[in-house]
Subunit: 201 residues, 2 copies
């Protein structure tokens, strides 16, 4: 039975929509301008809401920026899992899975994460926010990668092969930060997929 007054629903919906717009604006702002320029005010302006609304929803810039990456990474990994479930079995599966995994580390969200990592290296307060986020996203990404690759981690070397795939993805994401590296990346992904397929048997 619904106990909330129906009149509150539109307000809650508006509040959720504002929160969502702030999270999306934060990731874009971070990727394009870095941590120092991604203030609550700058993100609020990009989202088309007041600075007060940003402060109400997230309190501090550190909280907004890390929540934004947590939310966006979660959504992206969920999408990846859904697409992965539709991958056909057979010889092309590993290459398709490796391509999908590595593509996840290219684009606005990864660029935003690099800005957060770089700033956290010299800012202990931000680092305290970023470390648990990294831990959480890293574990989720590993779980999705195991699913997509159909990897049996009880076999020797398999866990490290999955981890190496995600580390390679980060390295390729970095190589794409300043220039379009997609042609070279495509060749490396194909070779990597061949090596992973041999390893996973």
């Amino acid at each position: 039975m619904e106990t909330r007054a129906p009149a509150r629903e539109p307000q809650q919906r508006r509040s959720r929509a504002t929160r969502q717009r702030l999270l999306e604006a934060a990731v874009e702002c971070l990727a394009e301008t870095g941590v120092a320029a991604s203030t609550l005010g700058a993100v609020a302006e990009r989202a088309g809401v007041s600075r007060g609304a940003a402060q109400h929803h997230f309190g501090t810039r550190e909280h907004l920026l890390t929540e934004a990456l947590r939310y966006m990474s979660g959504a992206r990994l969920e999408e990846l899992r859904r697409c992965g479930a539709r991958l056909p079995e057979g010889p092309g599966r590993i290459e398709a899975a490796v391509t999908m995994l590595i593509d996840t580390y290219n684009g606005t969200e990864f660029d935003a994460a690099v800005q957060l990592w770089a700033a956290a290296a010299g800012d202990p307060a931000l680092r305290e926010h970023v470390l648990p986020l990294e831990d959480h996203v890293g574990r989720e990404a590993h779980r999705v990668a195991v699913e997509l690759l159909g990897a049996d981690e009880s076999r020797p070397g398999v866990r490290e092969t999955v981890q190496a795939t995600l580390d390679l993805a980060r390295g390729l994401g970095l190589a794409d930060l300043l220039t379009d590296d997609s042609a070279r990346r495509g060749r490396i992904v194909r070779q990597w997929a061949r090596m992973v397929a041999k390893e996973l048997g």
Copy 2:
């Protein structure tokens, strides 16, 4: 025949020493505090020289920071090549070479490069300095990696395997930026070395 006046030599030597101290201080400053805080003045102070000396040697901050990374990367790759030339032939060679290559992407110099990449993403003027540097260092690193691994790039997949090793190294460097990732990295390096050894035959 020596044509320069002997009296000028100590001055030239001092000038070279100042330049060297500035380059080393720039890389440390960049790694610890990021681009925004690595001004000519801050780097000069760390090097124990005047801001005027820094300006005399490098002109702008962008020039100092990119020259510092060019110099340090060059020195590191030269050292890697010397150590690589002493690697014993035999079954352990690939693992030793992969370990040496990947270790090069961990530490102050790589951390400084991440700061430069992150800042260049939102700063077109800095980007113009960083792109030719990346191109140069990337080509040199590839050449050293081919030598160390004894890779025959005329065989299919070998070039991409060498490139993937360097991209993996960058990804592992990023994973080590905020925490000590050495234990996990060691396991991944051993597995990757096994996969590379199979591939290079």
